[in-house]
Symmetry: C2
Subunit: 273 residues, 2 copies
């Protein structure tokens, strides 16, 4: 479940190590990961050069030259692993892309994943990415912008945070501690939030994600070089800590159903009313 921190880390690594390389070969074992027919995908991509790699939310954006975009989403989880010439490949992968220096990368999806190829002038029509909200790591993500994005919204705060159209990059892992740090129950309705709570929430979003980026992501996710992050799950405050004491007040942490997902909360620190 790579979220913004993992995607940020991996896309920066990719940008450093594969920029300017030219695509020479592609193997796509699972056609459903692609947005166009296998044959067309390969024909279009081969010969093109990596201009740069960036990311937005949970999407990795590879800009190709001549201008095309390769958009990668790891879905529920997976690996994107660099390989050098002659090095052994991972045992299992669904997608392999090789450069003309015989380096490359493989992609393994353990559930749903996407690798899309989109023409430069068609990027705005790409439904999965064209509605993405602002990234919490973006300079433009100011408190003012955040507040205005909440106006007129009536949903529950957790649903808001997970909706990529509002903010891009938060998933069901980081949202746990974001909510705990801001002392908000996941089902709090947005119109009931006080000024101060919104400010705490804003700080919690930035703090939580930036801290993980500094630690190069979650300890159970691999980066482009197969290295694991340093943000270990033991550092979670309440996430996945059902039955453990709240780090603040020692009340036992509960796991509750919130819509289709689960949320771990301290029932004392994160009251609904």
């Amino acid at each position: 479940m790579p979220e913004l921190p993992e995607i940020t880390v991996i896309s920066k690594q990719m940008n450093k190590v594969i920029s300017n390389k030219q695509i020479s070969e592609i193997e796509a074992k699972q056609p459903k990961n692609l947005n166009i027919p296998n044959r067309e995908f390969i024909k279009t991509a081969i010969g093109k050069t990596i201009e740069r790699v960036t990311s937005k939310g949970k999407w990795i954006i590879i800009t190709l030259q001549p201008r095309y975009y390769m958009l990668i989403n790891l879905g529920m989880g997976g690996d994107l692993l660099y390989f050098k010439k002659g090095k052994k490949l991972p045992d299992k992968y669904h997608f392999k892309l090789t450069f003309n220096d015989d380096s490359g990368f493989t992609a393994f999806f353990w559930w749903f994943g996407h690798i899309h190829l989109v023409k430069e002038d068609k990027l705005s029509e790409h439904k999965a990415t064209n509605k993405l909200g602002i990234q919490p790591t973006d300079q433009k993500f100011t408190l003012k912008i955040f507040k205005s994005s909440l106006t007129k919204k009536k949903s529950r705060i957790k649903n808001f945070l997970l909706d990529q159209k509002n903010i891009a990059g938060i998933g069901n892992v980081y949202v746990q501690d974001i909510l705990f740090r801001s002392k908000l129950h996941p089902n709090r309705k947005i119109p009931t939030l006080r000024e101060e709570e919104i400010e705490n929430l804003y700080d919690a979003i930035k703090y939580t994600l930036n801290r993980s980026i500094k630690l190069r992501g979650l300890a159970y996710e691999k980066d482009f070089f197969g290295e694991k992050g340093k943000f270990s799950s033991q550092e979670f405050l309440v996430g996945y800590k059902e039955g453990k004491p709240c780090p603040k007040c020692k009340t036992l942490i509960e796991k509750i159903k919130t819509g289709s997902t689960s949320t771990y909360i301290c029932p004392e620190c994160q009251r609904l009313l």
Copy 2:
């Protein structure tokens, strides 16, 4: 609650009697009925000539020359009444449109109604009408088309019939007898419908609506000339007949809640299972 029959009758009358007339004056007492500011509406419409009047579903479509469309929806109910020069106007109305021969028409909405003005090339962007389904009175409304519109749908049959995106023109009045004639419970899920039931439903839709058109609509609705229709509510089979005997089996008719609307059914003839 004018539905397809009433709207069909009134739009045909309008087409005969106001075509080729030029708009000279407009009075709009309730700005919320309009899609653009009052002043702009009036300025745009005045001077234009009625080319023809048609309808689709519950919408009256007035084509203006130079090309513009005036789209009227009576919402939950209301009157659209013609007046000749010098004749007394209705006591209450929300909208009045006068032609240069001093004839015209008034509109009265007893709840919400809409009078929209749309440029010819913007008609496809008009949300309230651009997604309307086929009219049951259209030649193209064949059994085959009807069947194919049901494929992959999983909703309850009543919801399907009332959704104007599927079929345009059926409301909560005519749907009552349509369901009774086809012996369908309003909450029957579409995938459970048998071939024969779909065919009966198709016939019931056409029969019910066409019969009412022949009788010039419901007896409690007025046409463009203030005349009432001949489809009296006493001719309803089950609609609004709570506690009365079913015309088929004498079982007492029940009024049940179906989503946000009510449905009158014979619990014997319209079984759910």
